[in-house]
Amino acid sequence: MRKLWKNRPMWIALIAIILLVVLAGFTANGSGTKDGLFRTALSPVAEFLHTVESEVADFFVRVFTPSELREENAQLKETVLLQEQKLALLDETEKENARLSELLNFTEANPNLRFVTASVIGRDSNPYIDTITLNAGSRSGVTEKMAVITPDGVVGRVSEVGPNWCRVKTMCDDKMRISVMVQRTRDEGMLGGLYETDGELVGTYLYYLPGKADVRTGDTIRTSGIGGFFPKGLYVGTVIAVNEEGKGTHDAVVSMDIDFLHLEEALIVVGVDEAIG
């Protein structure tokens, strides 16, 4: 035994064991930054070796699995893939059906308005989505300045028309203005401009209400029909703040319910038989 400990390799081994255990303890405490660097540097090698490993595993699977089983496996994989695609399609159809049902209910509730239903096929890349493109155009009777709406409120106005498409300036456009009224008091005013907080669009401003107008938080704002572009009585939004300070600025802030970022279908008002409201 003494001879064993006089042996130089044994001492080297002992010191190496102690150092390695200390190193393991060091990395176990999560303080091994250099260890992390080593691992990061080795990750491409590990990836390559994993690729080789999967190829080797595949080879053994090919060798040891009977051909009938392989064929059956391939067929089953294909079937699963098809079923997954069908499920995804079904899910999508279900959601579309729900959205279109909502639009249908809205059109049935407004028999005096004639609509063209259109899908959103383009959206401006800026965060406020001030322009969208719809898949209906002059062939469907769409012309410039027509109102575009959804059951959740006014989307905007047609600004450009092609044979089978049109571009719509949305309420998120800073220059967009529409005539509106407070549903409770029938006071009329103008809606437009963007009200932002911390870089996020919160709503639009309500201007030019009569001096004695009584506008309160929670009041519903609808189109007034003045100007002729938007039929009277369409839902626009809800008052979320009233300017108590008075003259020279806006009267209130109105929030819109439409999610312009996820809007998928809209109704273009192509004709009005009589006013609503």
Binding site: P9, M10, A13, A16, V21, A24, G32, L49, E53, A57
Partner: protein, 162 residues
């Protein structure tokens, strides 16, 4: 020297098997560590220095690729190498006893890893110890003998098989 160079590809193949192939093929957690077997076999068949080199570099690379604690496998393998060397350095034993020595070495290596895991807060798992660790140790011991014999057939001057 030429024979010793064979240890490099052998160690790399063992590392590849340990780190990438066996984890996906292991049955119920039973998987022998080829790098450990090779280190013990090299110690018995050639010289302790060979076993130490395989244990340190093979262990460190195994840790780098697939273990959370860098150095732990290397330390455990090195302990096994020292134990096998302690038993075999006098070259007086029957060849078959290498399996027994390797069994002790592999058990010591496994014990090092286990004790370390417990020390850093892992839960004691007797079921895993019996169903995975022990069979793995036996497999490692059984694998060490043919590896040593294979190496012996290529290496003259073995410390164990003279």
């Amino acid at each position: 020297m030429k024979r010793r160079l064979l240890l490099i590809p052998a160690a790399l193949i063992a590392l590849f098997l340990d780190a990438f192939v066996l984890p996906s093929l292991s049955n119920n957690g039973i998987r022998p560590l080829f790098t450990l077997c090779l280190a013990m076999a090299a110690t018995a068949a050639t010289a302790v220095q060979d076993g130490m080199l395989i244990a340190i570099f093979g262990g460190l690379l195994t840790d780098l690729f697939c273990n959370p604690y860098l150095g732990l496998s290397a330390a455990a393998y090195l302990v096994a190498v020292v134990i096998v060397y302690g038993f075999t350095r006098k070259k007086e034993h029957a060849r078959g006893l290498l399996i027994l020595f390797a069994l002790v070495g592999a058990a010591a290596a496994e014990a090092i890893i286990y004790v370390f895991s417990l020390a850093i807060g892992a839960r004691f798992d007797a079921h895993r110890l019996l169903t995975a660790a022990l069979p793995s140790i036996v497999l490692e011991a059984l694998l060490t003998y043919p590896l040593a014999a294979l190496y012996r057939s290529r290496e003259k001057g073995s410390s164990f098989y003279q």
